[in-house]
Symmetry: C2
Subunit: 424 residues, 2 copies
């Protein structure tokens, strides 16, 4: 029986196949994500992997449904596996925001799902480090979040030779748009609340600039009354807005300025971003984006039906691209069982005191393995070596234990009660 296409099994290492996924590497990544979030005083939360479909269509419009893993449940509810975490976060914050001092700094490690018919062979789930700051409109919050993003990647051993944060701003493009449009308020409102259709279309063209031919872009831009040359000149100027300058100075004060560059080509397709946007890329441009995020000051209000209005920003970092980069850069450690002590049972009449020793060592916090059933001494020792045990321990009588350091090959005979002290 096979698992569903697009889903992953996670095995302990060493892996059976090069194309299977490592549960150890996943946990390594999760640990680093949690560790870094904690240093920045971000608190963990989580929501259900299944939500009412409406939560996602409210945010992204009906067109999102084509990419969702959605269905009708047995209670006739339209539901969906979560494709992203932000709507759940907005829902949770809106429900209980008065309980928390602002700014709220939270993170989650959700598994996210999508179902795109056309892209067979692609993954339909991934895990994401999802971090958000809610309730602070000052660019200091943007800087704090980008610093967290940088330090998360550095926690894996990546350096400024390995990655870059491309920093941009919807506001910069909005100013560009407004200053060149005779009557910006005259255009029709789109279905996406708070987003004018004209600038929305314009943002979409900018978003696709890197993947579209200049002729095609020029054609689309001039239909809206813009020119590609003008757009390109703005991008090449790379002149930070006052807001972006503020963020750059903040990051420079932290010693992180060299990780960031202004790049107005980044605008991020999602309609709900409202201000600063950014993406993390590998420096050589060999991989897809490692992470992306920005401000979404209107979303909490939208999700709460107008009841709660809080500025917000966040980023998401998936496990798949990150893992590819760590592999390519040789930054993934070798994982093994991490056995501290392998207890050899060569004399079956000593199995009972051996079990007592095993229990005592485990109670003292050691990871202990032993032969469950009678086995030849050489086979036991080989197993201890395979497991990369740091020590072997062998009960020699009811009172004594022979302990061997498998690296230094030092041996010592210790009293039973004293054994644990020789294993540090």
């Amino acid at each position: 029986m096979e698992r569903l296409p697009g889903f992953r099994d996670f095995y302990p290492e060493p892996l059976p196949h090069a194309d299977t996924w490592s549960a150890d590497a996943r946990q390594f990544i999760f640990d680093k994500w949690r560790e870094t979030a904690k240093r920045y005083n971000f608190r963990e939360y989580d929501g259900p992997p299944l939500e009412p479909l409406e939560l996602f269509t409210t945010k992204s419009g009906e067109e999102i449904v084509g990419q969702l893993y959605n269905f009708t449940d047995k209670g006739e509810r339209a539901v969906s596996l979560r494709p992203e975490m932000t709507p759940t976060l907005a829902r949770m914050v809106a429900a209980h925001e008065r309980n928390y001092k602002k700014p709220i700094k939270w993170f989650a490690l959700p598994q996210l799902f999508r179902y795109e018919r056309q892209q067979k062979g692609r993954l339909r789930e991934h895990f994401q480090f999802n971090t958000d700051i809610i309730g602070e409109s000052d660019p200091a919050a943007d800087a704090e979040l980008i610093a967290l993003l940088i330090d998360t990647l550095r926690a894996f051993g990546l350096t400024e030779q390995d990655f870059v944060i491309r920093l941009s701003s919807r506001n910069a493009w909005q100013d560009f748009y407004d200053s060149r449009t005779p009557n910006p308020d005259g255009v029709a409102e789109s279905e996406v609340e708070g987003e004018a259709e004209g600038d929305y279309q314009f943002f979409q063209i900018i978003d696709k600039l890197e993947r579209t031919s200049p002729e095609e872009s020029e054609k689309k831009l001039s239909a809206l009354g813009f020119s590609l040359a003008d757009v390109n000149q703005f991008i090449e100027s790379g002149q930070p807005t006052a807001e972006l300058e503020n963020i750059l100075q903040n990051l420079t004060a932290r010693g992180l300025g060299s990780f960031v560059k202004i790049d107005y080509r980044v605008i991020r397709g999602l309609a709900y971003y409202t201000g600063v946007v950014f993406e993390a890329f590998d420096a050589k441009g060999e991989f897809r984006a490692i992470a992306g995020g920005g401000r979404y000051d209107n979303l909490v209000k939208l999700i709460s039906g107008g009841k709660v209005n809080l500025p917000a920003l966040g980023f998401g970092m998936g496990d798949v691209v990150l893992l590819e980069i760590l592999k390519a850069r040789g930054l993934l450690p070798k994982f093994d069982a991490n056995v501290d002590v392998f207890v050899l049972i060569e004399d079956e009449t000593l199995r009972a005191p051996s079990l007592k020793l095993i229990q005592e060592l485990r109670a003292a916090g050691f990871a202990v393995e032993y032969p469950l059933t009678p086995a030849k001494p050489d086979k036991q020792f080989k197993r201890a070596q395979e497991l990369k045990a740091a020590f072997t321990a062998k009960v020699e009588s009811e009172s004594y234990v022979r302990i061997r350091n498998l690296k230094s090959r030092d041996e010592i005979v210790a009293g039973f009660a004293d054994a644990a002290n020789h294993l540090r």
Copy 2:
């Protein structure tokens, strides 16, 4: 907008409501589960939360579908959110068992789902500590797994005054059944492979004994040719079989004998158990079972379509009952932000060197918080106290930092580069 009925949001503490769920308590439980599994050299794995429906019906028959969170996906596949982990484990092991030395000792922390129409208000998801040993038929494996169960509960501070492992055996009941049935091989085979219909029905009656009136049980038993008096006498004898005796001696050698008692009323309803079965209960019997498990020697063969045949056993421990008991026994710690240092910024001209200090302390591994925007000194200090920060640190010039221990109230002025050394 509301979350779906039966699903939980997990918030950081302090919680907004007594009836909301704590992300911190969840992580506390997950950490203890992982920690204990590691001491026993169990390795972590995981599979997809969504599986082909067939995986679950193959194991449990079509009648399981009524309890599943199942649906048809956009590719017209019959799929289900996983109601348990064992079929996924059996599938994964069957696919790659040759890569792993036996016995395989694995664990997972899956979120599991069920959809029961009739039980509104009940949770439709929970998390489970799922541990299994695969490839060892000796009772030594059963003892190792039960020891892990006991030590997992002890890791939370629960003692033999708090819980008991009720140990039983399908084999004991099979012997009871066979010895009283004239022609045990003559009965028709049920649809559940490897399970004769007569004994399956008998096991079901035993399983429900505690929840059924004696009259009703007597009626059902005599229909199969048994008497309730005979059954009760067998239960009350509590005489361990040779296999159970072996397990008890093993656990006694570890000093864990007092946590276990023979209790033949435990038989576990699931059809696929084949030998030893057990459940963990709170000693006062106030809560539902904390954990349950046993041997399922035929399942890997069944799931692999006969390709792989490996004996196996496992247990599952859910997060919900465990959390109730830990709360009731006062064994849940208070969770807070665990901030190490709150950096006070009272002079905004020193914000840049303050950001430098914050960055250096975080790089040294400390959890650091600070006011993102200008704030009054007393408000900052109050926030540091609310966050239960261990220290405050205040940049006094480009070269000096004033560090205050909030518990001892000791103050010290340190050089910038030396600040981290005063925070241990």
